[in-house]
Symmetry: C2
Subunit: 338 residues, 2 copies
């Protein structure tokens, strides 16, 4: 525990933040990596520093496009992003790739995997690959991802791809932070449509049937037809956009340019209509609300006086010596009086 | 807005609470109804009064059994509870029936329906039927239901049935407040098992195939066999209890006594093992945590200084004039300094 917070410590902190800010803004990737690690830290003193850093970075952001890519394990997300990402770089863009995978700390799979994934892309000077933050709750991972996006955009990355596993609720979290949401599927429509989550399809701005090569071409086209039909059953999107369905082979580098054009059209159309900006504002508002409530709960629970009283009162509640209402009232009073 | 809170107002409030408490403890059903309405009110001054009332009632509670009953619309929950409830009353019990249905404000269906439902039961002096609280969020409805249970037990009801529609997440909320969870199903297992939510089946302590009468008897028995088989696939329950499967016809009053015996066995076995008490304590602990966090968020958002600043800062966040972090930090500081 710090005994006092003297002016020389404050000076050190502000020098540290100053150097991080400079490094991020000049896209020094080694410093950028450190800055992301700071943002990801759960330690209270790190979070204070991180907030100051983010405050400095938020006004220097590149005008970016944020793309979410989801699909079940085995659909070929990494291969797809490696091949698809190159198109953006060839187009003169600076690309950053993030992963949102709250399950990774459990499965451990992606930790080893990440090192060898997207090898060509990770060597490209105009690409920055950052594997998943360490597990934790979906809320925590999502928050850190949103904060990391600020740093990446401040470093000049104008194309952000956020990859997520098509399991659980991480799609919803990612949908809330991107402009365009791409769902990757495997060939073989019949079985696929059975298992698909309606909610994920509803979120998609485009569906791409990957691995449409060799013997799979026919079944991929069949799947595409079925998905087109299925998409008609959904209500029209608020943006007025009609989701498109593609077949592609990331491995054979086929069908990717069409998806890139689709995204460009989408962005142009939505910038024109004002929907792009409105959607971002809506996302900012929701993000702020979530962050605010999380901060309040965190501040409450991390207070040592509260956590002491909480433990005592909890025991009394469990034993029926006090009602939850009275116990909560007392804790809130303590909190407000501290 | 109240200009001052003088001693005569306080006197009035305490007289009011005193008379409500007396009415509840003597099971004056008209006053009990008013007390529940007070507990259900969203108004801040009502909630303060309600907390005092609950504090007075919580130490006078009957030693109750709380039973959750769920099933899809059309499974015959009302008819079942009407017939099943009579068994408890014939057994010398005092029965209260509550409904948790966060959707009722949207569908409007149950409002008219509730008036004519459980007619015989509602005329019985040992039964108390309270239809769903007015819509709202599931969290709100669940909280009010939990508080209403305190009043009912203080009024001497020793059997509480909580009915919920088998849609959405209300089952999980109800499971958290009952000792025994009964899932009602319709005959016709093949289709049924397809559509059933695994999570709901996992929560069930017993499954009853209702409407097992006339032409349905065979398909009900078939369904029962399939459910028995399916239940074997789940992990054993923490209580050591093996869920049972029944067929019944609430309409023809058949098969209900067997379900009653099952519940009695369950309670006896779990009281013996100590699981009954442990589960209640666990529920109290969770309930306290939820109540505490909700109270904190409510207190925060209802503060007039906060809601003013929040609106201004939200606009600045949306326009990108301030980061969510700085805005949240300022609001928390304001809240702690008020």
């Amino acid at each position: 525990m710090k005994s006092k917070e003297n002016s020389s410590e404050k000076k050190n902190d502000s020098d540290f933040i100053e150097s991080l800010t400079k490094g991020v803004l000049s896209n020094n990737t080694s410093i950028l990596g450190k800055a992301i690690t700071l943002v990801e830290s759960e330690r209270r003193e790190h979070q204070k520093l991180a907030n100051t850093l983010l405050e400095k970075c938020i006004t220097h952001r590149a005008d970016s496009i944020r793309i979410g890519v989801t699909g079940v394990p085995g659909v070929g997300k990494s291969t797809f992003i490696e091949a698809f990402g190159k198109l953006f770089i060839n187009d003169g863009k600076k690309l950053a790739v993030l992963t949102v995978d709250p399950s990774s700390s459990m499965t451990k799979g992606s930790i080893l995997g990440d090192k060898t994934r997207m090898e060509a892309l990770s060597k490209n000077p105009n690409a920055f690959i950052r594997p998943s933050a360490s597990g934790g709750s979906l809320g925590g991972v999502a928050r850190k991802t949103q904060e990391t996006i600020i740093l990446l955009e401040a470093a000049g990355y104008d194309t952000i791809i956020i990859e997520t596993v098509g399991v659980g609720q991480s799609e919803t979290a990612v949908r809330e932070m991107v402009d365009f949401f791409l769902l990757l599927k495997l060939p073989g429509a019949g079985d696929e449509l059975q298992g698909i989550k309606r909610g994920v399809m509803e979120m998609a701005d485009a569906i791409a049937i990957n691995k449409a090569d060799g013997d799979n071409i026919k079944s991929a086209e069949l799947a595409a037809t079925e998905f087109k039909r299925a998409l008609h059953l959904f209500a029209p999107k608020a943006s007025g956009w009609t989701p498109e369905v593609f077949t592609c082979s990331a491995l054979k580098n086929k069908g990717l340019k069409e998806i890139l054009s689709c995204i460009k059209n989408y962005v142009a159309q939505n910038r024109e209509s004002g929907f792009f900006e409105r959607a971002r504002q809506h996302q900012n508002k929701n993000w702020f609300k979530r962050h605010l409530e999380n901060s309040l709960l965190k501040d409450f629970h991390e207070n040592p006086e509260i956590s002491n009283s909480l433990e005592q009162l909890e025991n009394q509640v469990v034993k029926g010596e006090i009602t939850p209402f009275m116990a909560a009232e007392r804790l809130l009073k303590t909190y407000r009086d501290i």
